[in-house]
Protein backbone atom coordinates (compact mmCIF):
# COMPACT_ATOMS: atom_id res chain seq x y z
CA UNK A 1 0.00 0.00 0.00
CA UNK A 2 1.14 3.52 -0.79
CA UNK A 3 0.25 6.71 0.99
CA UNK A 4 -1.66 9.14 -1.19
CA UNK A 5 -2.51 12.74 -0.50
CA UNK A 6 -4.87 14.17 -3.08
CA UNK A 7 -5.84 17.86 -2.73
CA UNK A 8 -5.19 17.48 0.98
CA UNK A 9 -7.20 14.27 1.44
CA UNK A 10 -5.08 11.40 2.76
CA UNK A 11 -5.67 7.77 1.83
CA UNK A 12 -3.87 4.55 0.96
CA UNK A 13 -3.99 2.58 -2.30
CA UNK A 14 -2.71 -0.63 -3.83
CA UNK A 15 0.29 -0.41 -6.17
CA UNK A 16 -0.74 0.29 -9.74
CA UNK A 17 -3.95 2.15 -8.88
CA UNK A 18 -4.40 5.08 -11.23
CA UNK A 19 -4.68 8.64 -9.96
CA UNK A 20 -8.07 8.97 -11.62
CA UNK A 21 -9.54 6.05 -9.69
CA UNK A 22 -8.23 7.46 -6.41
CA UNK A 23 -9.77 10.79 -7.33
CA UNK A 24 -13.13 9.17 -8.11
CA UNK A 25 -12.99 7.26 -4.87
CA UNK A 26 -12.31 10.44 -2.89
CA UNK A 27 -14.81 12.55 -4.87
CA UNK A 28 -12.11 14.81 -6.24
CA UNK A 29 -13.19 16.03 -9.65
CA UNK A 30 -10.72 15.73 -12.51
CA UNK A 31 -12.04 16.68 -15.97
CA UNK A 32 -11.64 14.05 -18.69
CA UNK A 33 -12.53 13.75 -22.36
CA UNK A 34 -10.85 10.71 -23.88
CA UNK A 35 -11.19 8.53 -20.80
CA UNK A 36 -13.70 5.68 -20.79
CA UNK A 37 -13.52 2.91 -18.23
CA UNK A 38 -14.32 0.24 -20.82
CA UNK A 39 -11.18 0.75 -22.89
CA UNK A 40 -7.52 1.19 -22.16
CA UNK A 41 -6.69 4.85 -21.50
CA UNK A 42 -4.73 6.46 -24.34
CA UNK A 43 -3.89 9.66 -22.53
CA UNK A 44 -4.54 11.66 -25.68
CA UNK A 45 -6.63 14.65 -24.62
CA UNK A 46 -4.42 15.53 -21.62
CA UNK A 47 -7.41 17.16 -19.86
CA UNK A 48 -6.83 15.03 -16.76
CA UNK A 49 -3.27 16.30 -16.25
CA UNK A 50 -2.45 16.86 -12.57
CA UNK A 51 0.68 17.82 -10.69
CA UNK A 52 2.30 15.15 -8.54
CA UNK A 53 5.21 14.97 -6.18
CA UNK A 54 7.04 11.65 -5.95
CA UNK A 55 10.40 11.19 -4.22
CA UNK A 56 10.60 14.92 -3.78
CA UNK A 57 10.25 15.60 -7.50
CA UNK A 58 7.33 17.51 -8.96
CA UNK A 59 5.96 16.74 -12.39
CA UNK A 60 2.81 16.80 -14.48
CA UNK A 61 1.17 13.48 -15.31
CA UNK A 62 -2.12 12.31 -16.76
CA UNK A 63 -4.41 10.98 -14.05
CA UNK A 64 -6.13 8.42 -16.31
CA UNK A 65 -3.10 6.23 -16.90
CA UNK A 66 -0.56 7.13 -14.23
CA UNK A 67 -0.10 4.08 -12.01
CA UNK A 68 0.80 4.90 -8.41
CA UNK A 69 4.13 3.18 -7.67
CA UNK A 70 5.24 5.07 -4.55
CA UNK A 71 3.94 7.44 -1.89
CA UNK A 72 2.54 10.40 -3.72
CA UNK A 73 1.14 13.90 -3.25
CA UNK A 74 -1.37 14.90 -5.91
CA UNK A 75 -2.51 18.44 -6.64
CA UNK A 76 -5.39 18.69 -9.11
CA UNK A 77 -5.74 22.44 -8.67
CA UNK A 78 -2.22 23.86 -8.86
CA UNK A 79 -1.74 27.04 -10.88
CA UNK A 80 0.27 25.12 -13.48
CA UNK A 81 -2.49 22.54 -13.85
CA UNK A 82 -5.23 25.15 -14.06
CA UNK A 83 -3.38 27.12 -16.71
CA UNK A 84 -2.69 24.00 -18.76
CA UNK A 85 -6.36 23.02 -18.59
CA UNK A 86 -7.37 26.45 -19.85
CA UNK A 87 -4.86 26.28 -22.69
CA UNK A 88 -6.03 22.81 -23.74
CA UNK A 89 -9.62 24.00 -23.72
CA UNK A 90 -8.69 27.12 -25.64
CA UNK A 91 -7.17 25.15 -28.54
CA UNK A 92 -10.00 22.62 -28.42
CA UNK A 93 -12.63 25.34 -28.48
CA UNK A 94 -10.94 26.83 -31.52
CA UNK A 95 -11.04 23.43 -33.18
CA UNK A 96 -14.63 22.53 -32.28
CA UNK A 97 -16.46 25.77 -31.52
CA UNK A 98 -19.83 24.05 -31.96
CA UNK A 99 -19.31 21.17 -29.56
CA UNK A 100 -21.63 21.54 -26.56
CA UNK A 101 -19.35 19.44 -24.36
CA UNK A 102 -16.26 21.52 -25.12
CA UNK A 103 -18.22 24.75 -24.73
CA UNK A 104 -19.48 23.58 -21.36
CA UNK A 105 -16.00 22.64 -20.13
CA UNK A 106 -14.54 25.87 -21.48
CA UNK A 107 -17.07 27.90 -19.59
CA UNK A 108 -16.56 25.91 -16.43
CA UNK A 109 -12.80 26.48 -16.50
CA UNK A 110 -13.00 30.12 -17.51
CA UNK A 111 -12.08 30.05 -21.19
CA UNK A 112 -14.00 32.62 -23.17
CA UNK A 113 -13.01 33.54 -26.70
CA UNK A 114 -10.05 31.57 -28.12
CA UNK A 115 -7.27 33.77 -29.46
CA UNK A 116 -7.16 31.67 -32.62
CA UNK A 117 -9.14 31.41 -35.83
CA UNK A 118 -12.19 29.27 -35.20
CA UNK A 119 -12.53 26.24 -37.45
CA UNK A 120 -15.55 26.43 -39.67
CA UNK A 121 -15.80 22.73 -40.55
CA UNK A 122 -18.61 22.08 -38.03
CA UNK A 123 -16.82 18.90 -37.09
CA UNK A 124 -16.85 18.21 -33.37
CA UNK A 125 -14.19 15.49 -33.48
CA UNK A 126 -11.19 16.02 -31.19
CA UNK A 127 -9.46 12.82 -32.42
CA UNK A 128 -9.50 11.16 -29.01
CA UNK A 129 -9.73 7.76 -30.68
CA UNK A 130 -12.46 6.37 -28.42
CA UNK A 131 -14.69 5.43 -31.38
CA UNK A 132 -11.89 3.40 -32.91
CA UNK A 133 -11.13 1.73 -29.60
CA UNK A 134 -14.80 0.91 -28.96
CA UNK A 135 -15.23 -0.56 -32.43
CA UNK A 136 -12.17 -2.74 -32.00
CA UNK A 137 -12.03 -3.62 -28.33
CA UNK A 138 -15.69 -3.56 -27.25
CA UNK A 139 -17.59 -4.52 -30.39
CA UNK A 140 -14.76 -6.51 -31.97
CA UNK A 141 -15.36 -5.35 -35.53
CA UNK A 142 -12.63 -2.78 -36.36
CA UNK A 143 -14.67 -1.14 -39.07
CA UNK A 144 -13.06 2.23 -38.50
CA UNK A 145 -9.54 3.39 -37.85
CA UNK A 146 -7.44 6.49 -37.51
CA UNK A 147 -5.63 7.80 -40.55
CA UNK A 148 -2.98 10.32 -41.58
CA UNK A 149 -0.96 12.09 -38.91
CA UNK A 150 -0.55 15.38 -37.13
CA UNK A 151 -3.26 17.92 -37.74
CA UNK A 152 -4.78 15.71 -40.44
CA UNK A 153 -5.24 12.73 -38.15
CA UNK A 154 -8.86 11.63 -37.94
CA UNK A 155 -11.05 8.57 -37.56
CA UNK A 156 -12.40 7.27 -40.86
CA UNK A 157 -13.42 4.19 -42.78
CA UNK A 158 -10.70 3.09 -45.23
CA UNK A 159 -10.70 5.32 -48.30
CA UNK A 160 -13.62 7.15 -46.66
CA UNK A 161 -15.94 4.71 -48.35
CA UNK A 162 -18.97 2.91 -47.03
CA UNK A 163 -17.80 0.16 -44.69
CA UNK A 164 -18.32 -3.55 -45.39
CA UNK A 165 -17.52 -4.56 -41.84
CA UNK A 166 -19.46 -1.97 -39.84
CA UNK A 167 -22.53 -3.51 -38.19
CA UNK A 168 -24.22 -0.22 -37.49
CA UNK A 169 -24.40 -0.81 -33.75
CA UNK A 170 -23.75 2.83 -32.91
CA UNK A 171 -21.22 2.14 -30.13
CA UNK A 172 -18.98 4.80 -31.65
CA UNK A 173 -21.84 7.29 -31.33
CA UNK A 174 -22.49 6.50 -27.69
CA UNK A 175 -18.83 6.58 -26.62
CA UNK A 176 -17.91 9.83 -28.43
CA UNK A 177 -17.35 12.52 -25.78
CA UNK A 178 -18.05 15.43 -28.11
CA UNK A 179 -21.05 14.23 -30.14
CA UNK A 180 -19.03 14.19 -33.29
CA UNK A 181 -20.65 11.16 -34.90
CA UNK A 182 -24.18 11.45 -36.17
CA UNK A 183 -26.51 8.47 -36.43
CA UNK A 184 -29.89 9.05 -38.02
CA UNK A 185 -32.68 6.47 -37.94
CA UNK A 186 -35.28 7.36 -40.55
CA UNK A 187 -37.74 5.51 -42.76
CA UNK A 188 -36.52 2.12 -41.63
CA UNK A 189 -32.92 3.01 -42.30
CA UNK A 190 -29.94 4.02 -40.21
CA UNK A 191 -27.31 6.34 -41.65
CA UNK A 192 -23.88 7.32 -40.34
CA UNK A 193 -22.75 10.49 -42.06
CA UNK A 194 -19.13 10.18 -40.85
CA UNK A 195 -18.77 6.57 -41.99
CA UNK A 196 -20.85 7.07 -45.15
CA UNK A 197 -22.59 3.83 -44.30
CA UNK A 198 -26.29 2.96 -44.37
CA UNK A 199 -28.19 0.05 -42.84
CA UNK A 200 -31.65 -1.47 -42.90
CA UNK A 201 -33.32 -1.37 -39.50
CA UNK A 202 -35.13 -4.40 -38.08
CA UNK A 203 -38.42 -4.02 -36.20
CA UNK A 204 -39.36 -5.65 -32.91
CA UNK A 205 -41.54 -8.71 -33.54
CA UNK A 206 -43.84 -7.58 -30.83
CA UNK A 207 -44.24 -3.82 -31.08
CA UNK A 208 -42.65 -3.08 -34.44
CA UNK A 209 -40.21 -0.48 -33.12
CA UNK A 210 -36.89 -0.39 -34.98
CA UNK A 211 -34.25 -1.52 -32.52
CA UNK A 212 -31.20 -2.78 -34.43
CA UNK A 213 -29.75 -3.10 -37.90
CA UNK A 214 -30.06 -6.32 -39.84
CA UNK A 215 -26.28 -6.70 -40.01
CA UNK A 216 -26.06 -6.22 -36.27
CA UNK A 217 -28.56 -9.04 -35.66
CA UNK A 218 -26.62 -11.34 -37.99
CA UNK A 219 -23.35 -10.41 -36.25
CA UNK A 220 -24.78 -11.20 -32.83
CA UNK A 221 -26.12 -14.51 -34.06
CA UNK A 222 -22.65 -15.38 -35.23
CA UNK A 223 -21.01 -14.26 -31.99
CA UNK A 224 -23.57 -16.07 -29.79
CA UNK A 225 -23.44 -19.11 -32.04
CA UNK A 226 -27.25 -19.41 -32.05
CA UNK A 227 -30.46 -17.56 -32.62
CA UNK A 228 -31.80 -15.98 -29.45
CA UNK A 229 -35.11 -14.33 -28.44
CA UNK A 230 -33.18 -11.19 -27.55
CA UNK A 231 -32.44 -10.80 -31.23
CA UNK A 232 -36.11 -10.55 -32.15
CA UNK A 233 -37.48 -8.06 -29.67
CA UNK A 234 -36.71 -4.53 -28.63
CA UNK A 235 -35.35 -4.02 -25.11
CA UNK A 236 -38.71 -2.78 -23.81
CA UNK A 237 -40.67 -5.78 -25.05
CA UNK A 238 -37.95 -8.11 -23.79
CA UNK A 239 -38.38 -6.72 -20.28
CA UNK A 240 -42.14 -7.04 -20.55
CA UNK A 241 -41.84 -10.65 -21.69
CA UNK A 242 -39.51 -11.42 -18.80
CA UNK A 243 -41.92 -9.96 -16.25
CA UNK A 244 -44.86 -11.84 -17.76
CA UNK A 245 -43.01 -15.07 -17.27
Amino acid sequence: MYKVKIDGIETEVNPGTTILSVANQEFVEIPTLCYNENVEPRGACRMCTVEVEVWGRKRLVTACNYPIQADIVIDTQSERVKKLRRLILEVLLARTPDSPRIKELAEKYGVKQPRFNLEKTHDNCIVCGLCVQACKDIVGVSAIGLSERGIFRKPITPYEESSHTCIGCGSCVYICPTDAISMVDKDGKRYFERWKTEFKLVGCESCGTHFATDVQIEYFKKVMGKDDPSLHFCPNCLVLKETKK
Binding site: V132, A143, S147, E148, R149, P158, Y159, T165
Partner: protein, 152 residues
Protein backbone atom coordinates in the same frame (compact mmCIF):
# COMPACT_ATOMS: atom_id res chain seq x y z
CA UNK B 1 -3.28 -7.08 -60.79
CA UNK B 2 -0.67 -9.68 -60.05
CA UNK B 3 -1.27 -10.73 -56.47
CA UNK B 4 1.18 -13.63 -56.62
CA UNK B 5 3.92 -11.03 -56.18
CA UNK B 6 2.19 -9.92 -53.00
CA UNK B 7 1.93 -13.50 -51.78
CA UNK B 8 5.63 -13.90 -52.34
CA UNK B 9 6.31 -10.79 -50.25
CA UNK B 10 4.04 -12.14 -47.51
CA UNK B 11 5.84 -15.49 -47.55
CA UNK B 12 9.20 -13.71 -47.33
CA UNK B 13 7.98 -12.16 -44.12
CA UNK B 14 6.52 -15.45 -42.86
CA UNK B 15 2.98 -13.98 -42.92
CA UNK B 16 3.93 -12.21 -39.70
CA UNK B 17 1.56 -9.41 -38.67
CA UNK B 18 4.39 -7.61 -36.89
CA UNK B 19 6.13 -7.22 -40.24
CA UNK B 20 3.34 -5.05 -41.66
CA UNK B 21 5.50 -1.96 -42.16
CA UNK B 22 8.20 -4.02 -43.89
CA UNK B 23 5.62 -5.80 -46.05
CA UNK B 24 4.11 -2.50 -47.16
CA UNK B 25 7.60 -1.23 -47.99
CA UNK B 26 8.21 -4.22 -50.23
CA UNK B 27 4.82 -3.73 -51.86
CA UNK B 28 5.63 -0.08 -52.46
CA UNK B 29 9.00 -1.05 -53.98
CA UNK B 30 7.25 -3.53 -56.27
CA UNK B 31 4.25 -1.45 -57.39
CA UNK B 32 5.64 2.08 -56.70
CA UNK B 33 2.54 2.72 -54.58
CA UNK B 34 0.10 0.81 -52.40
CA UNK B 35 -2.81 -0.29 -54.59
CA UNK B 36 -6.18 -0.68 -52.87
CA UNK B 37 -6.54 -4.23 -54.12
CA UNK B 38 -3.23 -5.20 -52.54
CA UNK B 39 -4.13 -3.68 -49.18
CA UNK B 40 -7.40 -5.63 -49.21
CA UNK B 41 -5.47 -8.77 -50.03
CA UNK B 42 -3.01 -8.23 -47.20
CA UNK B 43 -5.86 -7.55 -44.82
CA UNK B 44 -7.46 -10.89 -45.66
CA UNK B 45 -4.21 -12.87 -45.75
CA UNK B 46 -2.82 -11.62 -42.46
CA UNK B 47 -6.19 -11.18 -40.79
CA UNK B 48 -5.47 -7.54 -39.99
CA UNK B 49 -8.53 -5.26 -40.22
CA UNK B 50 -8.25 -2.98 -43.24
CA UNK B 51 -8.56 0.23 -41.16
CA UNK B 52 -5.36 -0.70 -39.32
CA UNK B 53 -3.48 -1.23 -42.59
CA UNK B 54 -4.94 2.00 -43.94
CA UNK B 55 -3.74 3.80 -40.80
CA UNK B 56 -0.16 2.58 -41.25
CA UNK B 57 -0.27 3.34 -44.99
CA UNK B 58 -1.34 6.93 -44.45
CA UNK B 59 0.75 7.62 -41.34
CA UNK B 60 4.21 7.03 -42.79
CA UNK B 61 5.63 9.33 -45.39
CA UNK B 62 7.30 6.50 -47.28
CA UNK B 63 3.96 5.24 -48.53
CA UNK B 64 1.73 6.50 -51.28
CA UNK B 65 -1.83 5.38 -51.91
CA UNK B 66 -1.81 6.97 -55.34
CA UNK B 67 0.15 5.88 -58.41
CA UNK B 68 3.23 8.03 -58.81
CA UNK B 69 4.88 9.62 -61.80
CA UNK B 70 7.75 8.16 -63.80
CA UNK B 71 10.26 10.35 -61.97
CA UNK B 72 10.00 11.11 -58.31
CA UNK B 73 11.45 14.47 -57.47
CA UNK B 74 11.90 15.11 -53.76
CA UNK B 75 12.99 18.51 -52.59
CA UNK B 76 14.93 18.41 -49.37
CA UNK B 77 13.46 20.73 -46.75
CA UNK B 78 16.04 19.93 -44.06
CA UNK B 79 17.38 22.76 -41.90
CA UNK B 80 20.68 23.06 -43.70
CA UNK B 81 18.90 23.24 -47.04
CA UNK B 82 16.34 25.65 -45.59
CA UNK B 83 18.90 28.20 -44.50
CA UNK B 84 20.53 27.93 -47.90
CA UNK B 85 17.30 28.67 -49.73
CA UNK B 86 15.28 25.43 -50.11
CA UNK B 87 11.92 27.26 -49.88
CA UNK B 88 12.81 29.21 -53.03
CA UNK B 89 13.83 25.99 -54.78
CA UNK B 90 10.49 24.44 -53.87
CA UNK B 91 8.60 27.48 -55.08
CA UNK B 92 10.50 27.36 -58.35
CA UNK B 93 9.83 23.65 -58.85
CA UNK B 94 6.14 24.12 -58.05
CA UNK B 95 5.84 26.97 -60.52
CA UNK B 96 7.78 25.15 -63.19
CA UNK B 97 5.91 21.84 -62.90
CA UNK B 98 2.62 23.57 -62.10
CA UNK B 99 1.83 21.11 -59.30
CA UNK B 100 1.89 21.07 -55.52
CA UNK B 101 3.98 18.64 -53.44
CA UNK B 102 2.29 15.24 -53.30
CA UNK B 103 0.87 15.65 -56.80
CA UNK B 104 1.75 14.19 -60.18
CA UNK B 105 2.09 16.14 -63.40
CA UNK B 106 -0.86 15.43 -65.74
CA UNK B 107 1.40 13.44 -68.08
CA UNK B 108 2.57 11.35 -65.11
CA UNK B 109 6.18 12.23 -65.85
CA UNK B 110 6.81 13.71 -62.41
CA UNK B 111 5.74 13.34 -58.82
CA UNK B 112 6.77 16.28 -56.69
CA UNK B 113 7.52 15.60 -53.04
CA UNK B 114 9.21 17.26 -50.15
CA UNK B 115 11.45 15.36 -47.76
CA UNK B 116 12.62 16.46 -44.34
CA UNK B 117 16.37 15.99 -44.82
CA UNK B 118 18.14 13.40 -46.91
CA UNK B 119 21.33 13.76 -44.90
CA UNK B 120 23.33 15.46 -47.64
CA UNK B 121 23.43 18.70 -45.69
CA UNK B 122 26.86 19.75 -46.87
CA UNK B 123 25.75 20.18 -50.46
CA UNK B 124 22.39 21.85 -49.86
CA UNK B 125 20.02 22.85 -51.27
CA UNK B 126 19.48 19.31 -52.49
CA UNK B 127 16.98 17.59 -54.75
CA UNK B 128 16.60 13.85 -55.01
CA UNK B 129 15.42 12.55 -58.36
CA UNK B 130 14.76 8.81 -58.48
CA UNK B 131 17.17 8.17 -55.64
CA UNK B 132 20.07 10.24 -57.03
CA UNK B 133 21.05 13.44 -55.29
CA UNK B 134 21.73 16.79 -56.93
CA UNK B 135 23.31 19.43 -54.76
CA UNK B 136 24.26 23.12 -54.48
CA UNK B 137 21.13 24.10 -56.36
CA UNK B 138 19.89 27.50 -57.38
CA UNK B 139 16.53 28.31 -58.93
CA UNK B 140 18.15 28.26 -62.36
CA UNK B 141 19.84 24.92 -61.85
CA UNK B 142 16.58 23.48 -60.54
CA UNK B 143 14.73 24.33 -63.73
CA UNK B 144 17.57 22.90 -65.82
CA UNK B 145 17.49 19.71 -63.77
CA UNK B 146 13.73 19.34 -64.06
CA UNK B 147 13.89 19.91 -67.81
CA UNK B 148 16.43 17.14 -68.13
CA UNK B 149 13.98 14.53 -66.86
CA UNK B 150 10.98 15.93 -68.66
CA UNK B 151 11.52 14.01 -71.87
CA UNK B 152 12.91 10.64 -70.83
Amino acid sequence: MDLTKVDKILTNHKNDKAMLVAILQDVQDEFRYLPKEVLNHISKSLNIPLPEIYDVSTFYKAFSLKPRGKHICSICMGTACHVRGAPVILETAKTHLKIEPGQNTPNMQYTLNTVNCVGACAVGPVIQVDGSLYGNLTSMKTIQLLKKFEKD
